[in-house]
Each structure stands twice: as C-alpha cells, then as structure tokens.
C-alpha cells in the first residue's frame, strides 16, 4: 500500500475538524489501554508474588531416587517390571551424588544444586512427641534455596554438629526456644540430644515443621550412606519445567520433578486467572473496536460530500479508503500512547496506595510486554475499525454527492 502525502493532510484535517469525535475516540482507546496495562501488571505482579511465596523458599526442581514415592513393588519378576527397576543401589538414596552435582554444575540456568537428606522423626518432650521433618543440608547451597540467613527469626542461622535449627511451627508446638536442648528420635527408634541454635520461619506450615542440621550429622543420625535428594533452584522459575525435561532425558535412574508438577493446582488456578484476564482484555478491545468503527462510520457519512468532491478531482477509491485508515491508525497511536502513560500512572498510584495503607504489598509487574502488548492490540483494533468507514469511502460514487444538491 502506497500512501500519498495529501491523504495524511486530509486525514489530519478531518481529525482536527471533527475535534470532539477525535477526542472521544482517543480517550476511549486511552482508557482501554490504561485499564489493560494496569490489569496485566496487576495480574502479573500478583501471580509472580504468589509463585514467589509458594516456591521462593523451596526447590524448583528436585532430583530424588525413584522409590521416594510409592511405586509398584515389581514382585513376580515380569520382564517389564525388571526393565523398570532402577539399579538396586540407587533405590532409596542417591549414592553417587557427587557425580550428579558435577553434572548439574554444567547447566547455566541452575543457580544452585543442593544435596539434601530428608527423613522423619519426633521431638520427644516429656511424655509428648511431635512429628517433624528432619533435613540435612550443606551451607551455603541450602541457604540459596531456604534463605535461613533471612528467615531466621531468632538465634543463629548456621547449624553444625548437634546444634540444629527448627521451624517456628515445631518450636511453638513443643515450646522449645533457642538454646534449649531436646531429644530427637528417628524412625528406627534410636535418637540423640540436640540443642536449638536458631528458629526459622519459611512461610509454609510444612517447611516450618522441619528440624535442620548439617548434612553429615543427618546422614549419621538417619543412617543414610548417600543423600536423599538434590534440590535445584533456577534463574527463571518458569523454565524449571524445561530443565526437568532435559534432566529426565539424561538421568534415567532418578526421579526428576519440577515445582510445576508438584503444584498443579496452583498452576491451574493461575491459568484460570490468565484466561479470565485474557477474556476481559478481549472484550475491552472488542468494545474499543466497535466504538471506533461506529464513530468513524459516522465521520465517513459526515465527510461523504468532501469525499465525493475529492473523487471528482481524481482521488481514487483506495486513496479515499486510506484517508480513513490513516485516521484510525493515528487515533489508535495517540490513544495507545496516552493509555500507556495513564496505565503507568494508575499502576504507580495503586502501588503507592497499597504501600501507604500498610496492606499486603506486592509489586505490580511493569514489563515492556505488559505495556506494548495492549498498546499494539489497541492500535491494531483502531486500524481494523477504520476499515468500516474506509470501505464506505472507497465505494462512494462522487455523483451521489454532486447530484444530491
């Protein structure tokens, strides 16, 4: 499509002469874009916040021995069962974990791969016992995932020897404080005395029910030769799925699981939210498009006399159509621009508002995509809407106008 300069000039004059209509359309587009920028930023921020809270202080990908989850026993010696059976030595522990660690170190997307020992135990206090998860960690790797440094509410965040960290939930249930010593029993019935060095709050009740000690101490306490799992965090949490897929392809003796697989419900919730916000966006765009189309159609009728004159003087049909497409595009462009500014304003006002009111603060996520996508879509709808009057303009016969007088 080749544009002639007079088409721009005439489009501009038509826009200026129909000032109130032009302003109304631009305002409509601007509000539509602003609402979308705000909505998308809000949703995006909310989702990221939710995900951060859910998985921020937990592994994104977990490598575990296959038997750490219930599996068919495989008794009976069927060929298929035999084929599926992992090597005996890797059944309930990862023995060769150093090799895994080295291998995982070669992935750029991995922030940290921390060896872990997991087990169950009971804090014994008098006649009561409180079930806890026992976790053996290495520092500083585990700190990247669980951020004990940040999440320790009292005491010291570094476990060592028989000095351990316990979660706030366990601490509250058992009444133990920093410096207290207690008897911890493992599943096999044996146990030992430990002292509490620090108490942490990881934000979830399961995690706050942990007793955290050094890897070696846990290995010894739980009588494990290797490790229980390798917990991985990645730079882009949404890429965890892909990484899990890759690891699954290369590591066939262990079970690889991403946070997405463990949190299907959260993800489907987020997906539903995405769908509903996409629907809102679609209808906002639709109403913008219909609004522009109807106003421009009226403009085309109002300007049919001028179009007839222009055609009599040699404007062809395509050119007449382009005059309206230019109008639609220009209003879309200006509207989108104002909309972006308005949307950013609304977003920062909202953030300021929630912060100053002391409510739960979370950052609205303003990204280039969040801004450009609604703006581009609005621009596209405005241009599409202008096809309605453009068609009318193209089909207009100059004689209709000239003879009507």
């Amino acid at each position: 499509m080749r544009f002639n300069s007079y088409e721009f000039m005439i489009a501009r004059r038509f826009l200026v002469s129909g000032r109130s209509q032009t302003v109304l359309i631009i305002l409509g587009i601007a509000i539509g874009v602003a609402v979308q920028v705000f909505l998308i930023s809000l949703m995006d921020g909310l989702q990221r916040n939710l995900i951060q809270r859910t998985i921020g202080s937990s592994p994104h990908v977990t490598i575990a021995p296959p038997l750490s989850s219930p599996q068919p026993l495989g008794i009976g010696g069927g060929a298929i069962d035999d084929y599926q059976r992992p090597l005996k030595t890797e059944e309930s522990e990862i023995l060769s974990w150093q090799r895994y660690s080295d291998y995982l170190g070669s992935f750029e997307e991995i922030t940290v791969a921390a060896p872990m020992i997991n087990g169950n135990g009971y804090i014994e206090k008098g006649r009561s016992s409180f079930p806890v998860l026992i976790k053996g960690i290495t520092l500083p790797e585990a700190d990247v995932i669980y951020k004990f440094n940040k999440n320790t509410v009292s005491g010291d965040p570094r476990p060592g020897g028989n000095s351990v960290l316990i979660g706030v939930a366990s601490s509250e249930k058992s009444g133990l404080k920093v410096g207290d010593s207690f008897y911890l029993r493992n599943q096999k019935g044996t146990g030992d005395y430990f002292s509490i060095k620090g108490i942490f709050d990881l934000g979830s009740s399961a995690a706050n029910n942990m007793v955290v000690m050094s890897l070696d101490r846990a290995r010894n306490f739980l009588d494990i030769t290797g490790i229980s799992s390798i917990e991985i965090q990645v730079h882009d949490v949404f890429a965890a799925d892909d990484l899990a897929e890759k690891l699954r392809a290369s590591l066939n003796q262990v079970k690889v699981e991403s946070w997405q697989e463990k949190n299907q419900e959260l993800l489907s919730g987020l997906q539903a939210q995405d769908t509903s916000s996409a629907m809102i966006q679609f209808f906002v765009l639709l109403s913008i498009t219909l609004g522009i189309a109807s106003v421009l159609a009226i403009v085309a009728i109002q300007k049919s006399r001028q179009l007839g004159i222009l055609k009599a003087m040699g404007t062809n049909d395509k050119s007449a159509a382009r005059i309206f497409i230019i109008q639609g595009f220009s209003m879309g462009f200006v509207g989108a621009l104002i909309g972006i500014l308005l949307g950013l304003g609304m977003t920062s006002l909202f953030m300021f508002g929630t912060k100053s009111s002391g409510g739960p603060t979370y950052e609205l996520k303003i990204t280039l995509t969040n801004i450009l996508l609604p703006a581009l879509l609005a621009l596209l709808s405005a241009s599409l809407a202008s096809l309605v009057p453009a068609r009318r303009a193209a089909g207009l016969n100059p004689m209709e106008v000239i003879r009507n007088e």
Partner: protein, 230 residues
C-alpha cells in the same frame, strides 16, 4: 484544430427495475480551445452528458475519447487519474472543502495527482488568485467567503493542473446576475488565455450566446447544434 472530445454513440440508462433511457446515441466531437455551451430544459440529460464526458459517470454503451484516449479502456483508478490530469470541474455549488483554506483548496487537485505542491505550483496558484481578484483571500476558509468569491476559488482550483478541458455545470446558477456576469467574463478570459477547452451546461441563453458553439439537448438527443448551421 483537432478534436479534443469525441463521443461515439453514447447511450445512458438509469434504473434496474424501471429502466429509463437518458441519452440516445449521442455522437459529438468538440474542438480543442472551443467554448461549447450545452443548453436544454431540466431533465433533458444535459448534465448527464457533461458528467459522462467528464468521466464522472460511465455511459451504458458507447465510447468517450478525451485527447485521443479511449476512456472505455480505463479502469476506475485510471479514470480518476485521467480526471485529475486532463480535466477541471466547476459545479453550480462551489464544492470547496470546508476544512481547507482557499489556497489549499486550489492546490488540492495538484496534491492528489503529484504530491505536495512545490513552490512553483504555489506561485502559480497565487498568480491565478491574483488574476481572478481573490489574492487577499488565500488564508480564508470557504465559509468566510461570499458566493462569488467561493466560485472564483473553484475556478482557480479547476485550473491548477493546467487541464486541457474544463467542465462547468451551471457555474453561475447560484449567483446574482452581476456576480454571474463577472465570473463568466473571467472564466472566458482565463480559458482563452490558456487555450483550454470549456464545456458548460447552462440555462442561461445569454451565456450560451457568448459561446463558440451551442448544443441543445432535448429528451436525451441533440436537438440543435450551432456547428451544423454555419
């Protein structure tokens, strides 16, 4: 002098359910540089004939040759370009664009055909305005002008592309007699200065009397042609 306009058996029908024939087998040739007046009663088909010669309407059958070009072979876009290049129109109503100043209105036909007018063309527009006595009105919008001034702007507009033919449909029909005479004189002068062919539909026998040739259309047929009475 050569024929700048040649009509070959033009017929024009209107309507689809009730078909109504407006023009019957019109054959006509008009020489370059002539002032031809087309007269006739209302509804005789004279305006339709003018619009067909001016490529604003297409004949139902027959051919229109303009400046040697068979216009029946042109598509819609080419017809539009041909209108822009070869013809100028002056209507009973000025049909200026209200969004543009007088000077801009005069320049629009050039802009449509060739893009933004260079200084040379603007100078030509100013010269034309001066020639027809509206040089001080260039910045005014059509609704700020009197009827005679508007029609003079329309005349300047029809001349900006140096067309070979100017079509005028009752150009003075909306003006008082004094203004009418003034506009008519001006039009004739300018047309003869530029050796432009002028084809004008008019009711006015006095105007027709001043033409080089008068053609009377009655009921869609040429009833009288002064060229054949010499």
């Amino acid at each position: 002098m050569s024929d700048i306009i040649f009509l070959d058996r033009i017929n024009k029908f209107y309507g689809s359910e009730v078909v109504f024939q407006v023009l019957f087998d019109i054959n006509l040739s008009i020489k370059s540089g002539q002032f031809t007046a087309i007269i006739g009663p209302s509804g005789s088909g004279k305006s339709t004939l003018l619009n067909i010669i001016g490529l604003l309407e297409t004949p139902t059958s027959g051919k229109v040759f303009l400046d040697g070009l068979d216009t029946s072979r042109l598509n819609k876009d080419e017809l539009a370009a041909c209108r822009n290049e070869k013809t100028g129109f002056i209507f009973q109503f000025h049909y200026l664009l209200p969004e543009f100043t007088a000077l801009e209105n005069i320049l629009i036909p050039y802009w449509i055909g060739k893009g933004r007018p260079p200084g040379k063309v603007v100078d030509r527009a100013l010269h034309l305005m001066k020639r027809i006595g509206i040089e001080q009105l260039g910045g005014k919008y059509p609704n700020q002008l009197s009827g005679g001034q508007q029609q003079r702007v329309a005349i300047a507009r029809s001349l900006i592309n140096n067309p070979k033919i100017i079509f005028a449909d009752e150009p003075t029909g909306n003006l008082d007699s004094k203004t009418s005479n003034m506009v008519m004189e001006l039009l004739k002068e300018i047309v003869s200065e530029n050796n432009t062919t002028l084809v004008m539909v008019t009711h006015d026998r006095d105007i027709a009397a001043g033409a080089d040739r008068t053609i009377e259309i009655v009921d869609g047929r040429i009833n009288f042609d002064s060229a054949h009475t010499y």
